[in-house]
């Protein structure tokens, strides 16, 4: 019997070897394909185990952080909630859904570059993400949101403010109302609680603020000077359709500078036509029109600013169907984002050099090493420095001149340059308007450019309504960064 017993043990050794062999198959041989199998939810759950890095404001205050949740996972919390929800976005690892900076900087926040790191000193991969430093200014952002909320408008507050550092392209303010609480993104989806980021996604008529673009094209191309005279009578036929000034006011021959100061529509329409569509298109493209801005933000949350046909189709750049005259004074189917208009102001402010806009400027790992730096980069040389100088002069007049439309934006003590806009929205005769203001300060040695817009008001104008918001935000920025 003993022989049989020994053989039985031999059998068990073989059986156990089979068990070990199959275990090896799952743990080593087939492990990768099992991990990649779509039915395997563990990779998703493992994402939850990563401690995502923080997102910080320019004063190092925390805008997003990971807090421990059950089962060794982490969940995201946003201390500033509504205030920065639009630029920061959200990240719900369990659903694989994310938005805003949480998405566009997702790889850094998940620590993909630093590789394995271990919290508990075990042979497992506990990843800790990198902290991402944003360029956003909490004080200025707060002021912007408050101003937007309390501005005179029709219905619940809707509007946007974007502020850029003209020398670096850093985004200091990206405000959009209504906002949402990114601690609870599922509650968004109504007109008053929405993830729609007006700063980057809205397609607004820019109103007269677009005249700055026409001005730049006119002067930089050499066709006009600030003292050139155009007939400012109203109405004027543009593309076969009569175009009039506000209140159909006629100004007679008027200088370009004055035409900007008082925002004379007929003048700018004629200027645009005389500059010509190809030239206008070139300058528009230099400013960034017709393309999505190269912002470190998810591309599907960005819109290009450009003119659209009455059927809602975007015109190919320089298309002969474009009514360049009307485009030149801010109509003609133009749909722009507040970010794009801020970029317009920033280009003028920075001697014609438009810097690439960016919301973040560095990523730092958990050991304090800077793993990524975003240096200021030139996006395009839109105009000659001399043009920028001249346009700045004209824009300063908009605010300084007692007849100027932008007097409400005066900073008191520091000269600012800007342009007002009042787009007609809503049906003919409804008197619904969208106030705009774009500008920069200080006029000599400019530092910041700001664009402000309120979605809809009952007949309010850009100067008195958007101007004060520009003033408040600009003052906060200048005071905070002396």
């Amino acid at each position: 019997m003993n022989a049989s017993i020994v053989r039985m043990f031999g059998l068990f050794a073989v059986l156990f070897a089979l068990l070990l062999g199959w275990t090896t198959r799952w743990t080593v041989i087939d492990a990768k394909s099992l991990r990649d199998n779509p039915l395997n939810k563990r990779t998703l759950v493992d994402e939850l185990r990563i401690k995502r890095g923080r997102i910080l404001a320019d004063d190092n205050s925390v805008l997003a952080r990971s807090v421990p949740a059950r089962d060794n996972t982490w969940s995201r919390t946003y201390p500033t909630g509504q205030l920065f929800a639009q630029p920061i976005g959200y990240s719900i690892a369990l659903l694989g859904s994310s938005a805003g900076l949480e998405r566009s900087r997702g790889d850094e926040l998940r620590g993909l570059q630093t590789g394995l790191s271990s919290i508990f000193g075990q042979l497992s991969s506990r990843r800790v993400g990198d902290d991402v430093y944003s360029t956003l200014d909490p004080n200025a952002q707060r002021v912007a949101m408050q101003q937007l909320a309390s501005a005179p408008q029709l219905g619940s507050p809707q509007g946007s403010v974007v502020a850029l550092d003209v020398k670096t392209g850093a985004v200091k303010v990206m405000a959009s109302l209504p906002s949402y609480d990114d601690n609870n993104p599922h509650a968004a989806g109504t007109p008053t609680v929405t993830t729609y980021n007006r700063a980057t996604q809205a397609g607004y008529p820019p109103g007269s603020t677009f005249k700055v673009v026409t001005d730049v094209a006119a002067i930089d191309s050499g066709k006009f000077t600030p003292d050139s005279t155009i007939n400012g009578n109203s109405p004027v036929t543009i593309s076969g359709v009569p175009l009039s000034n506000d209140n159909n006011a006629s100004y007679g021959p008027i200088s370009l500078t004055d035409a900007l100061t008082q925002s004379v529509n007929t003048v700018w329409a004629q200027v645009a036509e005389q500059v010509g569509r190809p030239t206008m298109t070139t300058y528009m493209q230099r400013f960034g029109f017709y393309s999505k801005p190269p912002l470190d933000y998810p591309p599907d949350e960005l819109n290009a600013s450009r003119p659209f046909s009455p059927h809602g189709k975007p015109y190919p750049p320089g298309s002969s169907n474009e009514d360049i005259g009307r485009i030149g004074m801010g109509q003609g189917g133009l749909q722009v984002t507040p970010l794009q208009m801020a970029m317009v102001a920033a280009a003028v402010a920075n001697g014609g050099k438009l810097m690439v806009p960016h919301l973040t400027d560095k990523a730092v790992d958990q050991d304090g090493r800077t793993v990524e730096t975003i240096n200021p980069k030139v996006m395009s040389q839109v105009m000659k420095p001399s043009t920028a100088q001249q346009v700045t002069q004209m824009m300063t007049n908009v605010i300084k001149d007692p007849q100027g439309t932008g007097t409400a934006a005066a900073l008191g003590g520091i000269d600012a340059a800007g342009k007002t806009g009042t787009a007609q929205v809503g049906i003919q005769g409804s008197n619904l308007t969208q106030p705009w203001f774009i500008g920069f300060a200080p006029a000599t040695n400019p530092r910041y450019a700001v664009a402000v817009t309120i979605d809809r008001t009952q007949g309010e104008f850009g100067g008195p309504t958007a101007g004060p918001i520009f003033k408040a935000v600009m003052q906060t920025l200048l005071q905070g960064h002396q």
């Binding site: 799952w26 743990t27 492990a31 185990r49 042979l123």
Partner: protein, 434 residues
Amino acid sequence: MRARNRELLALIPASLLVTAGFAGVFIQRSNSLSNVSLTYGAIFLGLCVGAHFFIRMTLPHADPYMFPLVAVLASFGIVMIYRISSTFARQQAQWFVLGLILFVATIIVFRDYRKLERYRYTIVFVSLGLLLLPRVPGIGDQVNGAYLGVHIPGVFVFQPTEFAKIGLVIFLASYLRDTRQLLVVGARRILGVTLPPIKHFGPVVVIWGLAMLILVLLHDIGSSLMFYGALLSVLYVATGRLSFVVVGMLAFALGAWYLGTHIAHVHDRVDAWLHPLNPTLYNKFGGSYQVANSIFAQAAGGMFGQGFGQATLTFPGSGAPLLPAPKTDMIYAVVTDELGLFGAAALLLTYLLLVARGFKTAILARDSFSKLLAAGLTSVFGLQVFVIVGGVTRVIPLTGVTLPFVSYGGSSIIANFVLIALLLLVSDRARRPV
């Protein structure tokens, strides 16, 4: 060194393991070492040392490594269960104590285990009766489609199969001791196949047939595999005739094919075994979700595991189980997930060592009944490990058998302690100086 001294020394790793294990779980949970883990460790060590002294008094010559190996397995089991859930760990610890008590009782009562032979028919019919219990309406308990438990309201739940397996092996060992010569001598060649004589083999066939039938009625396929394997194993050891085993395997294959194609849930299990990653099967109720996640869990473990306490068992947020039955059927998958291939290999090695000691006892035993009893008990134990680990690793279809000493389950740990006690009794007699 004397056997019992070796045994005492061998207990040290077990207690170190359990203390370290509890401490590890504690540090994971609360970032600190607390008195509780040290207390658990101390109590465990105390119990094991106590049991050791009892063995020293009663079975001085018994195999020195069996009990420490069991202690390592049981302590590992408690630590794993504690990591999964501390309430269940407390329960398991209680079962452990109860198991030790029955261990002691078995050794005292069955000092002369040879008298078991006299009651073999009683034992086997009681065992069959126990097997039938889960099917009795009112006290039967259905789990996952299988009637595995007996629920005495207000008192306890137990799984009679665990105890029945011991009874059936005792019967088999005794009966075959008497008839083994006759089976060999009287073997007939029918159609070129050597079969044991019906006259002598009949009762075994009948009784085993009853057992199989009951287990099929219970939908407890895993246990039927185990029992059938034990029968063939003891038969082979008793007669030395491979042909009997081959015939038995063929009969088994036939039966398995029949069951696989005619009984829905057996068919389901085979389907899940063959195609666990099929999306329809995966999402179907009673489909391959468990097997698929078992291999996903092992894949996550890799060579070295994710780290003790690091495996994901539930979906964070909903708490829905990612791996069903982690502390019972699937505990091997959790072990592989956390401790990797190396951890799993270590566990398998421990079981294999125990099986080796059991067979060694059988070889050293001096009379046929002892030999067959030891071989039978070792076989049924080893087969139980094979059936459950095999199911978890997809060597064979998944069934609901427990991993001895490691899975959560009172009946399992108690019955297996009785089994080990019997082995130690045989071992003591076998190694006693003549």
